[in-house]
């Protein structure tokens, strides 16, 4: 092979190898250091299909989110600053999206499947939830919020 691959090509192959290693290292490093990860895999369980917010303790919450044409339930989620929230997500009908852009939460809501991710809310504020998968003619109307240490709107 040596005669076939010229010097510059060899250098470029080595550089590419290093670059790839760097990319993969960065992914793994960020995963450990900042605890960033993609959604978890859970087997289907009917218990998650009823929308609700469970308070486990002062700082730990569970949200069972249900997306449907064209709303999220619960549509308003109130938690205190510093709380850790487990979001469980499913759909009552077509595929929906669930995006909290400020927290990089990004999940698909799918009929017959349960999605899950965990987020910590360290700053007070209103966090918009946007449906980012086409779910029919009312798709652009879907609305929900996580409200962290704000006066409740009700």
């Amino acid at each position: 092979m040596a005669a076939i691959i010229d010097k510059i090509e060899k250098r470029i192959i080595i550089a590419t190898g290093f670059l790839l290693a760097l990319f993969i290292f960065s992914i793994l490093y960020a995963r450990d250091k900042y605890r960033t990860d993609i959604p978890e895999c859970l087997p289907y369980d009917k218990a998650y299909t009823e929308p609700k917010v469970n308070k486990i303790d002062e700082k730990t919450y569970q949200v069972f989110g249900v997306a449907q044409m064209w709303m999220f339930q619960p549509a308003e989620i109130n938690v205190p600053v510093g709380s850790e929230v487990d979001f469980f997500l499913t759909s009552k009908d077509v595929v929906h999206g669930f995006n909290i852009a400020q927290k990089n939460v990004n999940m698909m809501a799918i009929y017959g499947s349960i999605n899950k991710t965990t987020v910590r809310f360290d700053k007070p504020g209103v966090y918009d939830i946007v449906c980012h998968e086409y779910c029919g003619s009312g798709h652009q109307n879907m609305k929900a919020q996580v409200i962290v240490n704000y006066p409740q709107s009700k």
């Binding site: 017959g112 499947s113 349960i114 999605n115």
Partner: protein
């Protein structure tokens, strides 16, 4: 090479049907940017609903145009390099299937009975003819491939020790990828969705359908891209006035695509439930395998272009970039290909972001995504398709180009448009702007409670870019059809530019046969996908009934 009248006619139709449909495709591209910028605050314009139009835009531009072109270009490369036309009846049969399928699907979309987008995720349900049409289009493209494979086997038996031409290797690899990946979507469409949309089966497993779709969906993007790669390797160096830096590098890159382009589809499902993080991570790593042939290509093409420029007398490290025939109206194919490559630099880099596991959380399904893929599919893919369509048409018809000076600036105009457009979309995506959304009705409507003022600059930028793209695209359609009505001026023949190789390595048998690669491909596929399908089988619950896009009540219960 002289070709028969029937062959010429076949290629004409295969090139001009999608270009004619493109008028609808880019019309609605422009409309999308107008709605999204909040200029239109309504559901429909001129009787075309936003999502109906988006379905047409995706299906026409990304499925119909690309598949018709891949088949036409496949016929051209195979005939040109084997000096023999494909079987006439088989080729026309393939064309008839593809056209019938396209007409069926187009009817369903235009009648508003299949506003399900080009990914047609269930349980949104479209008209049966939409699914059947898609299936016929795909099966029609297989038919041509089977005939080329027959020709290849025959040629190989007659020339066992000659290197198979690179363009032929490329075409066969491309259609092998296509055949393997479309098996999954054919299963999804014919076994899961078609009986369900006809009302024969009540429900469908949504996650299974999505997993089958993405088995197809990622490889689809390579099916779009490989004709462009074939042009980059076998034509661009020649058009630049030089040689391909290494012929072997091209072969290695193409065979690596065969291995890595299918078993990575789960990277489109990072945000999906029912598939473990382990499988997602593993397919994520395989995705990085695709960066190897991509970097090989980037290097080899840059080296080939530099060589060409130095032959033209350029000096210094970067001086060569200035010495290329960018605006030569007679050599317009160079302009189309080089603009595509420039866009592809950004398309490739943003693609690495998408593939990077948890970084995908930041961008998945936001407007970043269309920002990214208009620099790939509406970049090198689209520009090489339209440039080559004009090229093949003029050569095969013996006509001169209509408005040659305009023709050579179209790709640059398009490139500038896309760069502005994608900057707007990607910036918007990073601050949460969703894709596939009629933003004008709510988020970009100042009178609505969901109004998002922070998305005004991003969607405006996308609108400006979209207008430039639309003008360039329209000019292209004028040039293409304008050329058709000009008089014949030179002898008609099938001609393709052919690059010589600077390093023309001697034949290495491993890089000139398919069997070992197909075996490895199958092994990687099984390792990557069996666990994914087992996950889906074990972790999903009830199957879903069907829904039409305008009604939250399932279709079955509305009938009772």
């Amino acid at each position: 090479m002289q070709v028969s009248k029937s062959f010429k006619r076949l290629i004409f139709w295969e090139l001009s049907i999608p270009v004619a449909l493109l008028t609808l495709g880019i019309y609605h591209g422009l409309m999308q940017t107008i709605y999204r910028a909040g200029v239109l605050k309504q559901a429909a314009f001129a009787k075309l609903d936003y999502y109906q139009g988006l379905t047409l835009h995706g299906v026409i531009n990304a499925i119909v145009l690309t598949t018709f072109f891949a088949v036409a270009f496949g016929h051209a490369t195979i005939a040109f390099y084997f000096k023999k036309e494909p079987n006439r009846k088989v080729a026309w049969f393939s064309f008839a299937l593809m056209t019938t399928g396209t007409v069926m699907a187009a009817w369903a979309m235009l009648a508003g009975k299949a506003s399900v987008l080009y990914t047609f995720y269930p349980p949104l349900k479209g008209h049966p003819l939409f699914y059947l049409g898609a299936a016929l289009l795909i099966v029609g493209s297989w038919v041509s491939f089977f005939d080329w494979s027959r020709m290849y086997v025959k040629w190989k038996n007659e020339n066992p020790n000659t290197k198979t031409p690179l363009a032929v290797i490329g075409t066969l690899i491309n259609f092998t990828i296509w055949f393997v990946c479309t098996l999954a979507v054919a299963y999804e469409v014919l076994v899961l969705l078609l009986p369900w949309s006809l009302g024969w089966t009540p429900t469908v497993n949504v996650t299974l359908a999505r997993t089958l779709f993405w088995f197809f969906g990622h490889a689809l993007v390579y099916f779009w891209l490989l004709p462009a790669y074939i042009m980059f390797y076998t034509m661009l160096p020649k058009l630049a006035g030089g040689k391909l830096y290494s012929d072997l590098a091209g072969r290695i890159a193409l065979f690596l695509f065969l291995l890595f382009s299918v078993p990575v589809g789960v990277h489109h499902q990072y945000s999906d439930p029912s598939i473990t993080q382990g499988i997602k991570f593993f397919q994520g790593m395989l995705t990085f395998g695709v960066t190897i042939p991509s970097f090989i290509t980037a290097f080899t093409l840059a080296a080939s272009l530099e060589y060409a420029a130095r032959r033209r007398g350029s000096k210094g490290w970067f001086g060569w970039m200035k010495k290329l025939p960018y605006l030569d109206a007679d050599n317009y194919l160079f302009a189309y290909l080089i603009s595509g490559l420039i866009l592809f630099i950004f398309g490739g880099l943003t693609g690495i972001v998408n593939a990077s596991y948890q970084l995908n959380n930041v961008v998945h399904n936001t407007s970043w995504m269309p920002g990214h893929f208009h620099m790939t599919v509406a970049g090198p893919v689209f520009l090489s398709i339209i440039g080559m369509s004009t090229y093949l048409y003029t050569k095969l018809s013996g006509r001169k180009i209509f408005m040659p000076k305009v023709n050579v600036i179209i790709p640059y105009m398009w490139t500038i448009g896309v760069l502005i457009f994608s900057t707007g979309l990607m910036w918007g995506g990073l601050i949460g702007e969703p894709r596939r959304t009629n933003l004008g009705m709510t988020y970009l409507n100042p009178d609505h409670e969901l109004f998002r003022p922070d998305w005004v600059p991003t969607t405006t930028l996308a609108l400006i870019g979209g207008i430039i793209m639309f003008i360039a695209g329209t000019l292209y359609i004028v040039v293409f059809f304008g050329t058709m009505v000009r008089k014949k001026q030179h002898a008609a023949a099938l001609e393709l530019p052919v690059s010589d190789a600077y390093h023309d390595e001697k034949r290495i048998p491993l890089f000139d046969k398919f069997k070992p690669w197909l075996v490895v491909m199958a092994i990687i596929l099984v390792v990557a996908y069996v666990p994914a399908f087992l996950n889906v089988k074990n972790n999903t619950g009830p199957k879903a009934p069907g829904f039409t896009p305008d009604n939250p009540v399932p279709i079955e219960s509305t009938k009772k």
